[in-house]
């Protein structure tokens, strides 16, 4: 077993320490991303013309390689966790903003009219009606963002010791210790699956009102939740092999 879990000293972390660092670097950006995405999405709902330029900008930002971000950021934030987390935060927006916008827009016009007619002001209506009903859609976005972020953290290796499990992968290659590579890849995949499961659990607890199982679905209620579940399945399957892709990138970088 030690071949798998004996961490090279240059990582400066135990196995569990690496996992902690990895989760922190992956999930804090998603949290920050959510904090930024909520008001941005609300603006997009309020001013419809804003949505497509915002979508365009987030997509372009997503297309910028993290290496390019690092080159710029390293002058300001140094070779730190922050430098890794800023691009990850930016990347999460491309998933979170549309998820929230779609979720809030999925609230039926009847429900909105009823809320207005009952004397909800715009703020109350947003907080007490639109946002709660958008929860399934928001969670679909959160799950994608979290899983993608977990696989992306590895790129922190590019700026030194900030790649957590990604550094373990790089060390495995550097020292020709294949078991370490296996540990890194399998652990990353497991983290993604566990975090995804945890988010599903939280969502279930938050939305006792959403139709589940094969029962006749309520109008609108299921619309946001159900297709996203299907989408999740396929993406999480697609995400798991990602560390392999990251490894290819790392090999390029090492050369």
């Amino acid at each position: 077993m030690n071949a798998y879990f004996d961490m090279p000293s240059d990582l400066q972390h135990s196995y569990l320490g690496l996992i902690g660092l990895h989760l922190r670097e992956a999930l804090l950006p998603v949290l920050f991303g959510l904090v930024v995405a909520l008001p941005v999405a609300q603006l997009c709902v309020r001013f419809k013309w804003l949505y497509s330029p915002v979508l365009w900008v987030t997509t372009v930002l997503y297309a910028i390689p993290s290496l390019a971000f690092f080159v710029v950021l390293i002058d300001y934030t140094g070779a730190t966790e922050t430098t890794v987390m800023i691009p990850l935060t930016v990347y999460s927006l491309v998933l979170l903003v549309p998820a929230i916008v779609d979720g809030v827009r999925s609230v039926s016009p009847d429900t909105m009219a009823a809320a207005t007619a009952m004397g909800f002001g715009p703020v109350q209506r947003y907080l007490k009606v639109q946002l709660p009903i958008a929860v399934p859609a928001i969670f679909a976005g959160l799950r994608l963002a979290a899983v993608s972020s977990i696989s992306l953290v590895s790129v922190g290796t590019l700026i030194g010791n900030q790649g957590a499990l990604g550094n373990l992968l790089a060390d495995g290659q550097f020292y020709h210790r294949t078991p370490l590579i296996v540990t890194s890849v399998v652990t990353t995949a497991l983290l993604a699956i566990l975090v995804d499961g945890l988010l599903v659990l939280i969502q279930t607890l938050l939305t006792p009102w959403a139709p589940r199982g094969g029962k006749s679905a309520g109008k609108g209620a299921g619309k946001s939740g159900r297709p996203s579940l299907l989408r999740r399945r396929t993406t999480s399957a697609a995400r798991e092999p990602e560390p392999a892709a990251a490894r290819a990138a790392l090999e390029d970088a090492v050369r």
Partner: protein, 406 residues
């Protein structure tokens, strides 16, 4: 009283949805706005609670301009019911109903108690309180919508095609329930529909609007049917308005005869005597309790008493409740009866007499003469109709089916 005073809604692009509309909506009654799509009926309704802002004229609520108070306070003083109920899918039924009381600052327990009282009032089983909207049928959701609108006991209820999205049987039940609730609560209800039958059934006053938001006629339904203002209204009412108007004439004055009625345990001599006395080709056989069993055919009557067998009887059709149901119901019974005679029963379903199509036709002529062209609808006839609908076994059955469909 809601006074709509030369109200116009003109959109920035120049479209006029409502054009110089004036209506006085009396307190404690149902006023229906009806018309084809694009006639501005929903727009008019939404201008009352300012979900649409008028661009000309004014609307007064009990003499005060609706702009005199904050918009959300105005809206909370008016219940609002819409087509697909528009329930909050993330809240339980009881919390949906308690929404407005909670916004008005009631504590949670009081608001929920009020919500449960209202569930009872609109005919929702208490066991549904903790369910979520997706677990309810369309008809039940609509009941929740009505209960939610009534929660803070607003004097005004605005209803925008509330029953259009449910199936016809459930719609009939909900309409009867609305009339029942209205008889108890006496709200000022403004009701929008595109269905003229619904308008005539529910409205104390009916405003017919034409495309472009112009008022075509504003009258009680009886008057609408007897004296449509113009070709548009006449066309909109459909072809059988004469028959439909009979709904507003009570059957109470109808002349009945008891001569052809005979109990099942009568002797042969009695039957022969009855046949002779009534001069009718048919006898109505009743059970010992006085409930109708059916008509004896001419052959049976000719043969005399011994041949009175229940198996050979002709069906008596649906009887009408004498004095409660209208001349329209009586005529319907007579038309559908194989003998051409209608059977009148009391509340308990016991026969009080029979009447022929000829007699009903005379009664109709008499009622028309008495009422004239511009008669006013009798509120009691409407209430009686509501009551009759409530006890109609077919409707009770469909209601049971509806609640079973959960």
């Amino acid at each position: 009283m809601i006074q709509i005073d030369s109200v116009t809604k003109r959109y920035p692009d120049g479209t006029v949805a409502v054009d110089e509309l004036s209506l006085e909506i009396p307190d404690g009654s149902i006023t229906v706005l009806v018309g084809p799509s694009g006639c501005g009926k929903t727009t008019t309704l939404r201008m009352i609670n300012r979900m649409v802002e008028l661009t000309g004229g004014r609307i007064l609520l009990d003499g005060a301009d609706i702009h005199a108070q904050p918009v959300n306070a105005l809206r909370r003083s008016m219940g609002y019911v819409i087509q697909n109920a528009g329930l909050f899918q993330h809240r339980t039924i009881v919390d949906n109903i308690a929404t407005v009381p909670r916004m008005l600052g009631w504590d949670r327990d009081r608001a929920r108690k009020r919500a449960r009282d209202l569930m009872d009032r609109v005919g929702l089983d208490a066991s549904l309180a903790k369910r979520y909207p997706y677990q309810l049928s369309g008809g039940q959701q609509q009941r929740v919508g009505v209960a939610r609108a009534l929660a803070a006991d607003p004097p005004v209820l605005l209803m925008d095609e509330p029953f259009s999205a449910v199936d016809p049987i459930v719609r009939k039940v909900l309409q009867a329930e609305l009339l029942r609730i209205q008889a108890e609560l006496g709200k000022t209800i403004v009701f929008v529909t595109h269905d003229i039958d619904e308008a005539i059934k529910l409205g104390d006053m009916v405003a017919v609007l034409r495309t472009g938001g112009k008022l075509a006629q504003y009258a009680p339904p009886d008057e609408l049917l007897s004296a449509p203002a113009d070709a548009f209204v006449e066309d909109f009412l459909g072809t059988d308005r004469g028959i439909r108007r009979l709904s507003f004439f009570t059957s109470a004055g109808l002349e009945l005869t008891t001569a052809p009625i005979i109990a099942v345990d009568s002797s042969a001599a009695q039957v022969a005597e009855r046949t002779k006395a009534s001069g009718a080709p048919y006898l109505l056989l009743t059970d010992t309790d006085g409930k109708p069993l059916g008509w004896t055919g001419p052959a049976a009557a000719a043969k005399g008493g011994a041949a009175l067998s229940v198996a050979e009887l002709l069906p008596h059709g649906r009887p009408f409740v004498f004095g409660k149901e209208s001349l329209r119901d009586a005529l319907d019974c007579a038309v559908l009866s194989p003998t051409g005679w209608a059977v009148a029963v009391d509340d308990g379903g016991r026969v009080v007499g029979v009447t022929s199509q000829t007699t009903i036709a005379e009664a109709i002529r008499g009622a028309h003469a008495e009422r004239g062209a511009a008669g006013s609808p009798s509120a009691s006839a409407k209430a009686a109709a509501a009551e009759a609908a409530a006890v109609d076994p077919a409707i009770a059955e469909s209601k049971a089916a509806e609640s079973k469909a959960v």
